[in-house]
Subunit: 325 residues, 2 copies
Amino acid sequence: MRTFFASLTLAALSVPALAADKAPVTSPVTPNDVIDAAPASDWQRIAPGDLMVMDLTPDAKGSARRVVIQLMPAPFSQGWVGNIRKLVAAHWFDGIAVVRVQDNYVVQWGDPDGETPGKARALPGGLAKPTEQDYVARLDERLLSKFMQRSQEEASRTASIPTNPDSYLRGGLTVFDQGWPLATDGRTGWPVHCYGMVGVGRNLSPDTGTGAELYTVIGQAPRQLDRNIALVGRIIAGMEHLSSLPRGTGTLGFYETPGERTPIVSVRMGSDVANLPAYEYLSTESASFAAYVNKRANRKDSFYIQPAGGVDICNTPVPIRVAKR
Amino acid sequence: MRTFFASLTLAALSVPALAADKAPVTSPVTPNDVIDAAPASDWQRIAPGDLMVMDLTPDAKGSARRVVIQLMPAPFSQGWVGNIRKLVAAHWFDGIAVVRVQDNYVVQWGDPDGETPGKARALPGGLAKPTEQDYVARLDERLLSKFMQRSQEEASRTASIPTNPDSYLRGGLTVFDQGWPLATDGRTGWPVHCYGMVGVGRNLSPDTGTGAELYTVIGQAPRQLDRNIALVGRIIAGMEHLSSLPRGTGTLGFYETPGERTPIVSVRMGSDVANLPAYEYLSTESASFAAYVNKRANRKDSFYIQPAGGVDICNTPVPIRVAKR
């Protein structure tokens, strides 16, 4: 029953593709071949101070459930990211819970009593109040030139990376920059809602949320949320502990009884967690990454008959791994 | 804690959006408003004979786990669909199991002993042997004209339905036809790998699989599989019973021990199942569906600040519901 189906079509974090056994390292066949062949210099270490470690209560069998979240770098969403760092420092997240799991959409965690006057836990002082304008960032010279290059590649149809037009943005493009998937209209840029990205729950606009309530995407990229909600990071380990939780049966996938919720024991910054593995991502500015995206867009290994010729940005997960010692 | 986050941004099968309370039926604001306002004549009944009912063993709490699959209509994948009907008639699927769950990719079920000589359960006789050519179907006049119209709409940028270019297909377009998401190159068409679609596991090409091993998509649409694997249907109820299963820890997400597998008690055609609800889908040829897609692409309700202006086909689930009676 161990059919090879999909054995050559895996996301970056999967095991090495079986095809790797057949292909000389000098001519990688699959995206995983490219990842395996990437030189150490193409990998970028993620600073532990940019990681958030969320420990859920153990599962029914007593196994630990640890989720590791990488926070978004400047220039994006820094108001919310700063708030989240304050909330972690205050141990504010300790004891809250996963309150909502909606299939093909999101897993959301926060204070179950957050809307009950007198019971809601108080937020620490000094939190920033970001505005809707902070959902996007003006492109600096480097990002602007990168976009211009991508735009010219698309126009000339000779892209070294398949830069197909973005379904969500007429005249816009998606780009990878410093390890993150972004979209841009040529003037501003913003992170996009891919599987595993982490965002800030909020009420109706103009409220933009504090960062005390977070969600992650567990289905098809809900790109309509781009530029409408702040993305503050992504899950780089332990995603399965959230994506496999029972779906909530209440409105919007909220759990209907407290017993269904998954308690969060603690959230700490990676720099404060003992024996946390070192994580690294494949530089999105490296030749290896360009080759990886091309392989994702043009599968020509023995499983495939018809290469697609393109791939959408959310089906191109940035390779992230535990650093090899 | 019941933040409105996403309450106005839900997939078709969700509860009515809260905004529905605010908007007069004459001017629907959200996609769900459009669904709620659609006249009965815009809904198409799904024939029970085109449904496959897969009952898993009850969950840990003893609750039933039923998954309902709608089979793909002609002209697509009919060789495999015919085989699957034969397998169901022979009760061949009864007693097999879910053997693989890979996060953000697929849940796969089949004969755990399928590759063990002497233990693999025999397939019924008379199964068809479809070829790679059967992954696509030549467009008939109706589909061809539909594509031409869509193509002109795209060219004129005045699409009544946002027909953004497909990231996976230069010069191609995605279309909805008779309730299904398709892609086309203008000459042939094929179903696309969206969340919940069901396909046929296979080994390396030119093997195209029999239909005895199936999978469903539980993450970002793996569109690279389009035209490389046969899609035979989609899950229209009970998806959460598969998508929330524990992820496998073996290679490719296969379970490492038999005890981790979820047994399949039985698979029957809907026409042979007592008291099965009647299901219906919103006609993709209806004005209501066109309005629904437009709302998915251009969210202007009070949650949103920046409508995307487009939406990808796999983020536009065809509304399916239990028929109101």
